[in-house]
């Protein structure tokens, strides 16, 4: 047993750290740190900086334009990104669709879309969920009917993250309603500028706009946009989901949040003492710290397995559950550390002259509420438990 990273890995960490210190735009990092939402331009500006170093498509092999990193290197990179308050890479194009096209796409699709993903010419979003099809994705109803060399799509997608910025959407559609649900689904690429598509914003609990509804009315899409075979989309969808779940433990984010919380608890005063000196608070913080330490090692054990065996196993579901629970607990304690000062609605008015709390904490409550999503999306924690029940426990 040896829990230390190799000298090469340590050197790599230093390299990433130096790069981030030099290249991450300060204004963007500040927004991430204070929990403010990023503009489309913020994302693209940062992703261009990464791509200059070929560190954008981190999940891609070298020959496709990625850095060809091992899972451990990717993990180190993610950790450092979070600690430096770098924006999370918008994963729909680069981490989800990219690998799918490499595996299932035809030559025309690969040569057309992959370079455009790398150069950020296209902004992709994910059209899986529907109002009636959440956890039970296979019950989706959006219809695609073949008409000569086009598909005509009718239906509705929902929860489309950052769809307001997207010019392309990859969708699961029903191409055969007569067979078992999983067997009549296809995976198709749609240009959002096609007539008949309407995007409507959904406002979330804390007031932000990050998700949308997308309506399709007689949307005509070239048949060549089908990825893989007609009615075999479920295989494609599942392959994409395994990519959606990598790095889902969010170890880096939790590290950063714990660090920040410790600082906050040293600043905040209660009853003439620092909050961190309050035994109840210190106990809560310490328990989370213990959980996080253990999770980091669990995560490394899984990375090690993945490095040895190639693909991550169903254990990623374990990391999804534990990782989201820990992050939510950290959000919860950060909000509580501020006491009543966490309660004001973060708004422009508050940021001016007499801000209640240090501006970098103003969004603590909003972040807590927004991050309730962590245990719901990407396959809810209940669904992850169902997966583990079957695959790991064999029940």
């Amino acid at each position: 047993m040896d829990l230390s990273f190799t000298p090469e890995e340590e050197a790599f960490r230093q390299e990433v750290r130096t790069f981030l210190a030099e290249k991450l735009p300060k204004d963007i990092a500040e927004k991430v740190k204070t929990g403010k939402s990023l503009t489309k331009d913020d994302h693209e500006r940062w992703q261009r900086v990464l791509e200059e170093r070929h560190w954008y498509a981190t999940t891609w092999p070298k020959e496709a334009g990625g850095p060809g990193w091992t899972p451990v290197e990717r993990h180190i990179f993610d950790e450092e990104m979070a600690m430096a308050h770098a924006p999370r890479i918008v994963s729909f194009g680069v981490h989800m669709l990219g690998p799918v096209l490499m595996k299932f796409g035809n030559e025309a699709q690969k040569s057309r879309y992959l370079p455009r993903i790398l150069n950020q010419d296209d902004w992709w979003c994910q059209g899986y969920s529907e109002p009636g099809a959440g956890s039970d994705l296979a019950s989706l109803k959006t219809r695609a009917v073949r008409d000569g060399d086009t598909y005509v799509i009718n239906g509705q997608k929902t929860w489309t993250t950052l769809g307001q910025h997207a010019d392309h959407i990859f969708c699961l559609v029903r191409t055969n309603p007569e067979v078992k649900p999983q067997e009549g689904i296809s995976f198709i690429l749609v240009d959002m500028a096609t007539p008949g598509i309407e995007v409507r914003p959904i406002k979330l609990i804390e007031g932000g706009h990050e998700v949308n509804e997308v309506f399709f009315t007689d949307v005509r899409v070239p048949a060549e946009n089908l990825v893989g075979e007609e009615n075999k989309g479920w295989t494609v969808a599942k392959y994409l989901l395994t990519h959606e779940r990598t790095g889902i433990a969010g170890v880096g984010f939790s590290n950063e949040a714990l660090d920040r919380l410790k600082g906050l608890a040293r600043e905040q005063r209660r009853n003439g003492k620092r909050l961190i000196d309050n035994p109840l608070f210190a106990a809560r913080l310490s328990e989370i710290e213990i959980d996080l330490e253990a999770m980091k090692v669990t995560n490394l054990r899984l990375l090690y397995e993945a490095q040895k065996n190639g693909a991550p196993g169903p254990e990623t579901s374990m990391m999804k559950i534990k990782g989201t629970v820990i992050r939510q607990a950290l959000n919860d304690l950060s909000r509580r550390a501020l006491g009543p000062a966490a309660a004001p609605f973060p708004s422009e008015d508050l940021e001016g002259n007499e801000a209640l709390v240090a501006p970098e904490h103003a969004h603590a409550a909003a972040s807590y509420f927004n991050n309730r999503k962590l245990s719901i999306f990407g396959g809810s924690n209940e669904i992850q438990r169902n997966i583990l029940t079957k695959t790991v426990l064999g029940l």
Binding site: G134, W159, I202
Partner: protein, 353 residues
Amino acid sequence: MDFEVSDDRRMLADTLSRFLSSDYDIAARNKVAYAAPYHSPEKWAALCELGTLMALAPEENGGFGGTGFDVTTVFQELGRALCPEPVLAQLMAIRLLMAAGEDLEGPLSGTTRYAVAIGELSAPYTLDLIETEASGGTLTGRKSVVYGAPGADRILVAAMAGGTLGVYEVDGSDARVTAYGMIDGGPAGEVFLDATQARTVLADGAAALQDALDWGTLALCAEAVGAMDWSFATLLDYLRTRKQFGKRIGDFQALQHRAVDVSIEIEQARSITILAASRMGTPEQSRTCSMAKNLIGRAAKLTAEETIQMHGGIAMTWEYPLSHYAKRLTMLDAQLGDTDFHLERVMAAHMAA
């Protein structure tokens, strides 16, 4: 033993509930709760017209209630409807003015609206470390996150004069108040006092302030019970109707057992609130209020988090009323002492013994 609700209180609850559900439904609520002035002066007037505030004081002070159960009756309905009106501040003001033997006409009719400013940035919950100073008929200091402060006609302020904690009254227009809305709706503000003209209400006011805090705490507990009842009923409806995998999601045992656990905690919350209400005015008042607030903090958070989780994405949206209940249930922990603060108070008795 008798756990029946008296006819008078049932009538009060019905009246309030009818008004709130018809005239102040969630759509109307959300419209006012998140935009300045973060409540509705017209609805405030209508609520007062119904006699809501009268229930907060006993007959000898001009009201028609004033017991713990009267207060919980009112606040449960306010919680069930997620009402953003600053009734809590008014209740606490009424208790302080009663202690000072002052005329309650204005506060009980609601024609004079009060805010109560106790907490400060580094002492959000305690009376021990208040730094605002009273001297020569003026106040100087800063009060933080004062619920109901914007637009209040008068502000009752806890301040120190020569080592004694007192209660002083400032005219709303004399104090500098920066207003903001809360993440869970409703108005609050920072109150800046800079040699601001003040009237002494209680020169020695520590006991009265603690009493006002206890009553406020009881009210918050009752508000939470009302909001939890609403949230749980909504969850049950959803578990019965939402279908995934060809079944109602309520058919999955993984959700059934958790829903049962939430319902048990809500009953516990109701019980401790009843206990606290029954002990108002007894030597056990403060301690029981602390017990109640601690348990409420835990139960309300569980209810908020679990009702969101078991709904899935829909409960994450602004459009779906539950999200606003969840925010209120979470944030009321930060008012008048959170779970840890009250746990420490309960612990203190054991540790001193």
